[in-house]
């Protein structure tokens, strides 16, 4: 086997990944703080007040990045789950498991801030819009994944069963999204058109991008911290964990 190929799998072992994750976490936290402070400063003090929506629109600086992350994390989770299933690498499955709670948090945050935004703008906490509905279903998918992993005692079986569920989910997400979208256009229930967003000021866009980066860094940092905890828990019988904890 070629040397380079072996290097690729070096960090697939919990023992070598654990210290690497530990070294990376402070950097991601620092990046999250920098991007977060810059993003919040722009979104609260620099970005102009919206002509139609007033100050309330500033919720989107949290809402939009949270929605992006909730969708993106599911794909990343399915990627790690599929990798774990195909290559039988333990850290991949642990990564998938550690990403799920963050993804669910983002989906919940997106739904919650969406409701807070919807009340003053549309006069309703909830409308059966295609995006809201598919975000809700995504939240259910995260809950299903976490519930399945929690219900299976044997961690190896939990990993593999969760991986299959995540892959089935990722195949279904586009189908669910488009079916909800067509269902919504067929019914024409609400008169609100989310697609007709007014063109955004440059500073608003910057604020949103910085906040998205902050959310991104936060998600990575938290996922790495969680994966370290999972590694310690699962490898507690090994010699190196006993030394690592000391």
């Amino acid at each position: 086997m070629r040397q380079s190929l072996i290097q690729w799998f070096k960090f697939a072992s919990p023992q070598s990944f654990y210290p690497l994750a530990g070294r990376m976490i402070p950097w991601f936290w620092a990046a999250a703080a920098v991007f977060g402070i810059a993003g919040l400063w722009i979104s609260f003090f620099v970005a102009p007040t919206d002509a139609q929506q007033g100050e309330g629109y500033r919720i989107i600086f949290v809402h939009v990045p949270a929605s992006w992350m909730s969708m993106f994390i599911y794909v990343v989770m399915a990627f790690w789950a599929g990798r774990g299933l195909a290559l039988n690498t333990r850290v991949s499955a642990m990564m998938a498991q550690s990403l799920a709670p963050t993804g669910a948090l983002m989906a919940a945050l997106s739904l919650w801030t969406g409701a807070l935004w919807g009340k003053p703008m549309w006069g309703a906490w909830w409308v059966w819009d295609a995006r809201l509905t598919s975000e809700l279903i995504l939240f259910f998918l995260y809950l299903g994944f976490m519930a399945l992993q929690a219900a299976i005692d044997d961690p190896r079986r939990a990993d593999k069963a969760g991986a299959i569920l995540a892959l089935v989910g990722v195949v279904n997400i586009p189908i669910i999204y488009f079916s909800v979208k067509w269902w919504n256009t067929l019914h024409q229930g609400s008169t609100i058109n989310l697609n007709k967003a007014p063109s955004m000021a440059q500073t608003m866009l910057w604020g949103m991008l910085l906040m998205a980066l902050a959310f991104w860094m936060y998600s990575i940092a938290v996922a790495l911290m969680r994966v370290r905890a999972i590694i310690l828990e699962r490898e507690r019988h090994t010699e190196w964990v006993k030394h690592a904890v000391e």
Partner: protein
Amino acid sequence: MNAFFATVRRDLLLAMRRKSEVLTAVFFFVIVTSLFPLGIGPEPVLLKKIAPGILWVAALLATLLGLPRLFAADHVDGTLEQMALSPSPLGLLVAGKILAHWLLCGLPLVLLAPVLGLQFDLDASALGILTLALLLGTPLLSLIGAIGAALTLGVRGGGVLLALLVLPLYIPALIFGAGAVEAHIAGLDVGGHLSLLAAMLVLAAFFAPWATTAALRIALE
């Protein structure tokens, strides 16, 4: 293919020996659909409007009720392990079991739906569309449900967990199935809805037995 038909025949025979299990899901379907007019009121216009949704949601739940039975008994008495060890591919046997499950849990719903639709004042052509949509949709429910049933095999609180896993994946079938009947009542073309249902059925018929087999092998490890 012999193994496939043998599995179908065996599962049908086993179910016929214990009819009450199959009938429970069917009567559940009948009772749930009959509860809605009692809860909402007997106004024909309203009932006609909500009929497709109610019949479809009830069909979804009735299918869900029968799913834990799909592999549980075979898992407990070791038949499933023998199937995994047998020379015929496990995927084929699993497909046979799914087909048998549909014949026992799905087909009765399809046949009953027109009768129950009469309770909701649907006319003959709407009943026809409803039956056709259920005929395309219920095998899809059995196929997707089989993945969930295999994943939750022998797991603590499997029944409730199964609902949590499977119901979000049932949403497209619900939308297009109930949508077809609603579109017909509204005087629109139903071809698109039925084509999409059929497309999802073909996709699921190809992938679901495979995913179910993978999940079963994990459960049997």
